[in-house]
């Protein structure tokens, strides 16, 4: 079972997000990037599958700040190979990224065909989760999204895929391979890899690079405006001794006709 995992960086929302001077995008100066959480789950799912059924895992990403650390971490966790697509001029919309990946994959030496392509089913800058289905469409292979578990016996040409629905209902699907899966959560939380292991991986392993193909796709979507949420009302904090606060609560309730 040979699996390709696609990972990407997204804005880290621990830091304050600022709107850039164009009023349409995030301010890159103040931005800090972090690996997309669901992509981390996609990697974990691929590693679990490899441990269970054998085969190989290749992790791939489009060049972006700090991506090398993410790819080396993937190697340290057990990924067999890391590939970075270089030279794609940012910014890339999701559909542009999907088109570039679809076109570059056949050019990556000794990669294709793979049995499964796993990536996050969603990212905080791709709430519609478009990357995986667009990629599947471009590659003309099946897609299943919001996946929470995968199993596949080698040589069967198909995988069993699990999805969770509301009310504790679990769906089990059979999908022919190759296929693209959008991972919501791996069967187990992403593993921890000791920092020393990442550091030694950085010394002993390399990341393969592949040049980005020329872009001929222009996005059909245009961002008109980006603004911070505006506060429309504020909570009133009641302060004072417990007796004073209790009295203020009583006043508020009676003023609103609730008691």
């Amino acid at each position: 079972m040979n699996t390709l995992v696609l990972m990407k960086m997204v804005p880290d929302i621990v830091e304050e997000l600022e709107v850039g001077p164009d009023g349409k995008s995030l301010d890159l100066e103040s931005l800090r990037l972090i690996v997309s959480e669901r992509d981390d789950h996609a990697l974990e799912q691929a590693l679990l599958l490899k441990e269970r059924r054998g085969g190989s895992v290749t992790t791939m990403a489009i060049e972006s700040p700090d991506i090398d650390e993410i790819l080396f971490t993937a190697l340290a966790k057990g990924s067999d190979r890391a590939v970075k697509m270089v030279g794609a001029e940012p910014p890339l919309t999701t559909s542009e990224a999907a088109a570039l990946l679809a076109r570059v994959l056949p050019d990556v030496p000794n990669l294709m065909p793979v049995d499964l392509i796993l990536t996050g089913c969603q990212a905080i800058d791709d709430l519609d989760g478009l990357l995986a289905p667009i990629l599947a469409e471009q590659l003309r292979i099946p897609y299943l999204g919001v996946v929470t578990g995968v199993d596949a016996e080698t040589g069967q040409g198909r995988a069993t895929v699990f999805k969770e629905y509301a009310g504790g209902v679990r769906g089990e699907y059979a999908v022919s391979l190759p296929a693209v899966l959008g991972i919501q959560a791996a069967e187990k939380p992403p593993r921890y890899v000791p920092v020393a292991k990442v550091r030694s991986t950085m010394k002993s392993r390399t990341i393969d690079t592949v040049p980005a193909p020329p872009r001929d796709e222009t996005s059909q979507l245009e961002i008109l405006q980006m603004t911070k949420p505006e506060a429309t009302g504020r909570a009133e904090m009641l302060e004072g001794s417990p007796e004073e606060v209790a009295s203020k609560v009583a006043d508020v309730l009676s003023a609103r006709g609730l008691v």
Binding site: V14, E15, E16, I34, D66, E69, F72, K188, P189, R191, Y192, P194, V195, A196, K197, V198, R199, M202, K203
Partner: protein, 404 residues
């Protein structure tokens, strides 16, 4: 934090578990008389499969692998009790346990989720709680006294104050920092902080077995400290104190370092006239493992407390070398859920029961981990109306009524 591929500077003879028994420290371990005092004094000795005595026995018998694949040593809260009581003077908590724990950590099939989050956060944000590194010095604006940040004003300074994580981000830890700033300012100390450039000193990463994370943090701080000129370092973190005193020197760190509590005790003559407000508290003091058993600072915090007008100091049965760990050391700070799942008593609960038993109304501490650990325990056990937790510096600042 960016990981680098540079080799951390290593001591000429790096001790590993493989060559331990060939080193002087390791040969010393062979003199263990298997008396079991270590297991008897260990706060989790009754539930550990491999307390220090058995680890040494397994090491001698060539069966250490059994210890390494067990998660028994995750119970070790690095409280230095075994080391302090060992009749052979073996450096258990300093040498043997970190080496074994590093191997245990690397073999764990799964890192407990709470601990994993803390370690991931420490690598990425420089603090275990995952707060923005850009807000590390935000508390300084609420201190009420001017605080120089070296990145903004890099002139040489006498005292570089390494604030540490809980004292920078935790709301109650910030009370400690505001109090410390107020006292330093009132004493006329020429001090500055690293501000947002500071990260976790990393001692708990090392003692939970994540040595690579600790080395990354050490490398970072060694490069950072080279940028500035200062005469000495003080730190609010008892664990940071240990890191700077015992581990950073292996990378060439040669600055004088003091924890804020002994630092202030050394300036008690100047401080005493400022302590004008009578507090009227009965206080019991909890000796932190790092300051107490590991470094022998038993009297300094007590001298400070006794100098406060209206403070009556009472002792818990387990005090000084016999103090019971709050459970936060060696990564225990982020293993509460793991211990709970194992059905273990939270060590902070055990300690708080003893503190309440003294009849004191204030539990005084001087390690920033203890505020949240003991306050949580007071609430869980229903004692939060009878006792409050205060850092020694908070009590000092409270007694400085009228001082700037």
């Amino acid at each position: 934090m960016a990981l680098t591929t540079t080799e951390p500077a290593e001591a000429a003879t790096e001790i590993t578990l493989d060559n331990l028994l060939e080193s002087p420290q390791g040969r010393n371990l062979l003199t263990c008389i298997q008396c079991g005092v270590c297991a008897g004094t260990c706060p989790y000795g009754d539930v550990m499969d491999y307390p220090p005595r058995r680890i040494i026995g397994m090491l001698r018998a060539g069966l250490i692998e059994d210890v390494l694949v067990s998660d028994s040593l995750l119970h070790c809260v690095a409280c230095y009790a075994c080391m302090a009581k060992c009749p052979r003077g073996l450096r258990l908590t300093e040498v043997l346990l970190p080496l074994v724990k590093e191997q245990v950590f690397s073999r764990l099939p799964e890192i407990p989720a709470e601990l994993q989050k803390a370690l991931t956060n420490t690598l990425r944000y420089g603090n275990p709680m995952g707060e923005s590194a850009r807000k590390r010095a935000a508390w300084a604006k609420t201190a009420g006294v001017p605080i120089r940040v070296l990145s903004e004003d890099p002139r040489p300074v006498d005292v570089l104050w390494f604030v540490e994580c809980y004292t920078s981000f935790h709301p109650r830890g910030q009370d400690n920092s505001r109090a410390t700033a107020k006292i330093l300012h009132a004493l006329g100390v020429d001090f500055a902080i690293l501000g947002n450039e500071e990260k976790c000193a990393g001692e708990c990463a090392r003692l939970v077995g994540e040595a690579g994370l600790f080395e990354t943090l050490m490398d970072y701080h060694m490069a950072l400290l080279h940028k500035y000129k200062f005469s000495r370092i003080i730190t609010s973190g008892a664990h940071a104190y240990d890191a700077f005193k015992y581990e950073y020197p292996s990378l060439g760190f040669d600055h004088s370092v003091e924890h804020t509590t002994p630092f202030l005790a050394g300036r008690l003559d100047s401080l005493r006239p400022l302590l004008t407000r009578k507090l009227g508290y009965t206080v019991t003091y909890h000796d932190s493992c790092c300051l107490g058993r590991h470094n022998g600072f038993y009297e300094e915090p007590r001298r400070l407390l006794k100098a406060i007008p209206g403070v009556k100091l009472v002792e818990m049965p387990h005090n000084r070398i016999n103090s019971v760990c709050c459970g936060g050391g060696g990564g225990g700070m982020w293993l509460d859920t793991y211990f709970k799942a194992k059905g273990r008593e939270r060590l902070a609960d055990r300690r708080v029961k003893e503190a309440v038993g003294t009849g004191a109304d204030v539990l005084a501490i001087s390690c920033p981990y203890e505020v949240s650990r003991f306050e949580d325990s007071l609430k869980v056990l229903g004692y939060d109306k009878r006792m409050v937790v205060r850092d020694v510096v908070e009590l000092l600042a409270e007694a400085m009524e009228g001082a700037p």
